[in-house]
């Protein structure tokens, strides 16, 4: 039996075992009854984490983030069910339990508003609860930025510890870094499942902000339920909770560079039947024809600087998803199925390294000199379905099962003979096809399946155990459209099977002031690649299996209501990709002995804030972090450029993040800011980088900061209308492209300092039931010449208008 089959059997056995537990523990309380329902506010919005209690029986429960609850083991008779939520008036409901097995009770609570110098006391949301947990997480709320025109990449870049480098405007290539680590070292999720199983498979920064309720950034220490080999952390996009009978939101944005962005999200929930449905969609288009400086040659080949519009950089993406299900049944807290489709097409204007010239003596200041592309296009689509089943098999048990299937195709299209200049003119018809250098028309096909199963056992009010099993299977093949016949190397079939298993213990002590999370993970990987040999006409098979362990701990202690600390640690793993292990058969040889990258990740966070009843609401937070990374993978080549991936270098990233927010001293004004300094250095004692031991890791920002201010003028042209002025500023320190100790300092190519200002105003009308807003925003207000990557200029000043409605 192959290793993959063994894993599959193992996985299905595990699933079966979990379901068996579900079944067996579900038989515990046959003579009792269940009460379920939902806790809502007076507007129908879900109130998370409400406490429900039948005092006489000592039966209680805590509602979930959607306000849903389930009380089991309720005996025959009349009981008083009490519900409490901080910031809302307590409510009692008398209920006679007799012959029905399940009782549905929905509570609508009135807000308990205390007028105390205009400070309103409210309950904590689930985002805040997560933020204040022992997890090493920063929660980015999108409520305010949904009204603004920034995309998710720009929103993420405002987060401490996060660096988002982009090669252009909307839809461009992006490098997302978290405390210095980037690429495959960071994993992305959508409602807890891998982002590739969503309509947004084309990169996190292009996900519409209006489709997201919040973003959870896990720094270096990743909860087991994600089931991933995330060396440096994970990012989870969380969609809005379903809380109303009917609700939704829509937005439309128009602006510079021919940009149009639209989103629509609708939801319906039927209290009686438990049926719910959500439908969402988005459409993005931009020409990205912003102006950049280029160095163009005259007939003698001498360069002259010009400013031109990019002419082949358009981006189009659209997608939709539909989710149907039921909630709040005895047999299922939720059972839902989702289908989605996403599609994008991206014109490519230039290579990743388009050739920057900086010769002030010739009047050329950071201008691109290489040829542009005029016909290269990358496109992709992704379609799939997800299943979610959540159930409480017994009073102390919860099973949360997610599974999905995805089919995707990517195509690169580069077959033109035309040579373009920066004015968009064809200056030559080449004999050679392909603007990158060689003609390319490759279709890559992938099929993926995943499952995420988490079984929770609540040992007591303060202790719980969590078991997570997360298998992922992916199959990849391709077709080189330029190769005729059967011997197409792209037809090779690659199969990858990952199984990440985690066990976690959570406990809360000292009246919940202390929380501790301890976990252990096992990573198993099986790879199999089948390729057909052209010479001997038979199938060759490469395969490998790998097993690694990781572990971690997180703790939080609240010294007082105003001051808390967190300390987190994880020994994290990134398993090698299949191309890193098996090479490409041409310039990259296989290395069956290639090991995983590993890292010791440590965070220590301090948070200090004002009293809840203070007139001035403020908070400061700091996080000290350490990433000690070993066995980093690098392509080591010889003089003929042949080589293989090897574990040859190491690095350490240490740093500090500071953030603060204050509102209240001036009525309507909120000011916030953060700064990150990361000292990410090469610590290799052997290998190709040993000569540069102690140097900063090149091409990586190490000091960046954000500041924002918002001023709200209330009651403008109506009691419920207000006007918001906002301003954001981002600073990124300059950084070198190569090792800092190499080369004369005055000759070193560097990505220059960035100082970017964005400002705008929003007019907002309506109440919670129907809220509309119109935003006018100017991005890159000073028209600064900005680079994230060396030689790739980003957009200058741009104006956008956005209309948003929420109902």
């Amino acid at each position: 039996m192959s290793e993959e089959l063994r894993y599959l059997h193992l996985t299905f056995f595990a699933v079966f075992a979990l379901l068996s537990i579900n079944y067996s523990v579900g038989q515990e309380n046959e003579v009792t009854y269940s009460i379920s329902g939902q806790v809502l506010d007076e507007n129908g919005k879900a109130l998370p984490y409400a406490n429900l209690l039948i005092a006489q029986q000592g039966i209680g429960a805590v509602a979930d983030q959607d306000g849903r609850y389930l009380l089991t083991g309720v005996p025959n008779g009349t009981h008083t069910l009490t519900v409490k939520v901080l910031g809302f008036k307590k409510k009692d409901r008398t209920l006679t339990v007799k012959d029905k097995s399940v009782y549905d009770v929905v509570f609508h609570l009135l807000e308990e508003v205390q007028t105390l110098e205009e400070v309103v006391v409210k309950s904590k949301g689930d985002a805040q609860i997560l933020q204040e947990s022992a997890q090493a997480v920063t929660v980015v709320r999108t409520e305010a930025v949904k009204l603004q025109t920034a995309d998710l990449g720009e929103v993420m870049a405002k987060t401490e510890g996060v660096s988002v480098q982009r090669s252009g405007g909307l839809g461009s290539r992006t490098r997302f870094s978290l405390n210095g680590l980037s690429g495959d070292q960071i994993r992305f999720f959508y409602d807890g499942i891998p982002l590739s199983f969503s309509p947004y498979a084309f990169g996190i920064v292009n996900v519409p902000v209006n489709a997201i309720d919040r973003v959870e950034v896990y720094k270096g220490v990743v909860p087991i339920q994600f089931g991933a080999d995330a060396l440096g952390g994970a990012v989870n996009l969380v969609t809005p909770v379903i809380s109303k009978k009917f609700g939704g939101s829509a937005s439309y944005q128009i602006g510079s560079f021919g940009t149009h962005r639209a989103t629509l999200n609708l939801q319906h929930y039927d209290d009686r039947s438990g049926f719910f449905a959500t439908v969402g969609g988005f459409y993005d288009f931009t020409n990205n024809n912003y102006k950049i400086d280029v160095a163009v040659p005259n007939e003698q080949g001498q360069l002259v600087q010009e400013t031109v519009e990019r002419f082949h950089d358009a981006y189009r993406a659209y997608g939709t998803n539909l989710r149907l299900g039921v909630r709040n049944k005895k047999w299922a807290k939720e059972l839902s199925v989702e289908g989605y489709y996403g599609d994008y097409e991206n014109e490519v204007q230039n290579s990743q390294s388009p050739g920057l010239i900086n010769e002030p003596s010739l009047g050329i200041n950071n201008a691109v000199a290489g040829n542009p592309f005029g016909e290269v296009v990358f496109s992709s689509f992704s379609v799939g379905t997800n299943l979610h089943y959540k159930v409480n098999p017994g009073r102390k048990w919860e099973l949360d099962l997610k599974a999905g299937y995805n089919y995707g195709e990517r195509e690169s299209f580069d077959v033109s003979n035309n040579l373009y200049n920066w004015f968009g003119e064809i200056v030559r018809v080449n004999n050679r096809r392909g603007e990158f250098g060689e003609a390319d028309n490759l279709v890559t096909i992938s099929e993926r399946m995943f499952a995420r199963q988490q079984l929770t056992f609540t040992v007591s009010q303060d202790h719980s155990l969590h078991l997570s099993i997360a298998p992922t299977y992916s199959y990849r093949t391709g077709d080189d459209m330029l190769v005729d016949g059967e011997f197409d190397p792209a037809l090779a079939k690659g199969k990858l099977f990952d199984l990440v298993t985690g066990l976690e213990h959570q406990m809360e002590l000292f009246d919940k002031r202390f929380q501790n999370i301890t976990f252990i993970k096992n990573y198993r990987q099986g790879i199999r690649i089948e390729s057909l040999s052209a010479s001997v006409g038979q199938v060759f098979v490469d395969k490998r299996t790998e097993s690694e362990f990781g572990a971690g701990n997180g703790l939080r202690y609240d010294w007082s209501e105003r001051f808390s600390t967190k300390l987190n640690y994880e020994y994290a793993i990134r398993l090698p990709r299949q191309d890193e292990i098996f090479g490409d058969g041409q310039l990259v040889a296989e290395n069956p002995g290639l090991g995983p990258e590993s890292s010791h990740n440590v965070n220590m966070a301090l948070a200090y804030g004002s009293n809840e009843d203070a007139i001035t609401d403020w908070q400061v937070q700091t996080n000290f972090f350490l990433r000690k990374i070993d066995d980093l993978i690098f392509l080591l080549v010889n003089q003929n450029d042949f080589g293989s991936f090897q574990n040859v270098w190491s690095a350490t990233s240490t740093g500090v993040e500071l953030s603060g927010r204050v509102s209240g001293p001036i009525r309507g004004l909120t000011v916030s800011g953060n700064a990150t300094y990361q000292d990410y250095r090469n610590t290799s004692e052997t290998g190709p980088f040993v000569q540069f031991r102690g140097d900063r890791i090149p091409n990586t920002p190490y000091l960046f900061a954000n500041t924002s201010a918002e001023y709200r003028l209330a009651h403008i042209l109506g009691k419920e209308n207000d006007l918001l002025f906002f301003w954001n500023f981002r600073y990124v320190n300059s950084f070198f492209v190569s090792w800092e100790s190499a080369g004369l300092q005055q000759s070193k190519p560097e990505v220059p300092d960035q100082n970017i200002h964005n400002a705008g105003l929003t007019y907002r009308t309506g109440s919670n039931r129907l809220r509309n807003s119109l935003t006018l925003e100017v991005r890159n207000l000073t028209n600064a010449k900005v680079f994230d990557f060396y030689g790739v200029q980003r957009p200058g000043r741009a104006v956008f208008v956005k209309l948003t409605t929420q109902f």
């Binding site: 003698q300 050739g355 691109v368 011997f487 052209a534 010479s535 001997v536 100790s741 190499a742």
Partner: protein
């Protein structure tokens, strides 16, 4: 509130300090009171350094070949650069920007400064194309045979003189051939054409392919492709005999690959590792051939490219038959070269006999760099990515004269 302001102020000051501390000294050299004197000699030293983001190129100038690379004092050139030099000036080709930069070397302190940039972006030249050919201080050529272009430029003015449309070289196998190390002499420029085998199975039409050299006449601005159909393919370099004017045409490494995996369509071929000869006019000598396998179990001929004949002998690298492991899978065919150890041999042009050359036993995969005053210089590479420069003091006497612990030496040239 006051405490909060203090905290924020402290954070702000910390940020300023961290920012301020991050700026390093700018590397200005101390100036001495002595009157500067011009150095008697100057060498150009070009190398590349690996980084996690790609390979970055550096260049420095020295009075003598340095014993090791002083990377901190080199000029950083960025990614995707090639070096060459003519007269007293180094030149660099930036394949991303499609520009040639001319450099001046200060003869007193060896500082490098730019002396003009020439862009070929609109002329159809970009990427990793061949090396330029210098004829004089005011005349040089840049080939792009595949596109049917020869560009003439003036290195003194750094301007394009003209672009000549020539017959393009169109490969018989539709593959990406390239012209690498060209050689000028007798009013002609000789472009050895490195011809790759097909990417896909299974036939190979050797007579259509053949060993090909492009001969460009500087006066008539025309090119003629000379072909010797006795050999499947030539490599992208010559071995030059300056005493006789002969250029020895090196068999391509791919010949063994082709023969192993593909059905070769010809009964009239010479053995795959046969050395051919071309006269000063660029004509193949139909009566000359040396089969390296006749006296040695040569499987794959490896180099050197563009080497020089010494004492009517040629030193070259080969892979012996017993050392080659051909992967079964055709797609892995290049591993036969990359996974095998090379060995040096010496070929006596008088006796046409190849023998083991033990003086280079400790090295593998040497590349020719330059010849100065009749002395050849080579570079070799260490498994961990470092490299060294090797000077040929005598026919079988070699000295490592420079070590680069983590860099690859790509260019070494005496400028004056």
């Amino acid at each position: 509130m006051k405490r909060m302001i203090n905290l924020l102020s402290t954070a702000f000051v910390l940020g300023i300090l961290l920012n301020g501390c991050s700026g390093d000294d700018n590397g200005n050299k101390p100036t001495g009171p002595e009157e500067p004197t011009e150095a008697k000699s100057g060498w150009m030293y070009g190398f590349r350094v690996p980084t996690p983001a790609g390979r970055v190129f550096y260049m420095s100038a020295h009075e003598e070949i340095p014993s090791t690379d002083d990377i901190s004092s080199a000029v950083e050139l960025g990614f995707n650069v090639r070096f060459f030099s003519y007269g007293e000036n180094p030149y660099t080709w930036n394949s991303d920007a499609a520009t040639i930069t001319k450099w001046n070397v200060d003869k007193t302190n060896f500082e490098l400064s730019t002396d003009g940039i020439l862009s070929l972006a609109s002329a159809g030249f970009s990427g990793a194309i061949g090396w330029p050919i210098f004829i004089s201080e005011t005349q040089a050529f840049y080939p792009n045979l595949r596109e049917g272009l020869i560009l003439e430029w003036n290195p003194s003015e750094m301007t394009i003189t003209d672009i000549y449309d020539i017959d393009p070289y169109v490969s018989s196998n539709g593959n990406s051939d390239s012209e690498l190390y060209a050689y000028a002499g007798n009013g002609k420029v000789f472009f050895p054409i490195h011809q790759s085998p097909p990417e896909v199975c299974c036939g190979y039409n050797a007579p259509e392919a053949g060993a090909v050299v492009g001969v460009f006449d500087i006066n008539t601005k025309t090119i003629e492709y000379k072909k010797d159909k006795r050999l499947m393919a030539a490599s992208g370099g010559f071995i030059v005999d300056e005493s006789t004017g002969y250029n020895y045409v090196v068999p391509g490494r791919q010949n063994a690959i082709v023969e192993h995996y593909l059905d070769v369509d010809s009964d009239d071929l010479l053995p795959r590792n046969t050395l051919l000869r071309m006269d000063a006019n660029g004509d193949f000598d139909p009566d000359f051939s040396i089969d390296l396998e006749a006296s040695m179990p040569v499987e794959i001929f490896m180099g050197p490219w563009n080497g020089r004949v010494m004492d009517n002998k040629i030193i070259m690298d080969i892979i012996k038959q017993e050392d080659v492991v051909y992967p079964e899978n055709f797609e892995d065919r290049w591993m036969a070269i990359s996974g095998s150890e090379t060995q040096s041999i010496v070929l006596d042009l008088d006796t046409k006999e190849a023998l083991p050359f033990t003086a280079l036993d400790k090295y593998s995969g040497l590349l020719y760099l330059t010849t100065v005053d009749g002395i050849n210089y080579y570079t070799g590479f260490n498994p961990d990515g470092g490299s060294f420069a090797l000077r040929q003091d005598g026919f079988d006497s070699y000295t490592e004269i420079s070590t680069l612990p983590n860099a690859s030496l790509r260019h070494l040239k005496k400028l004056w």
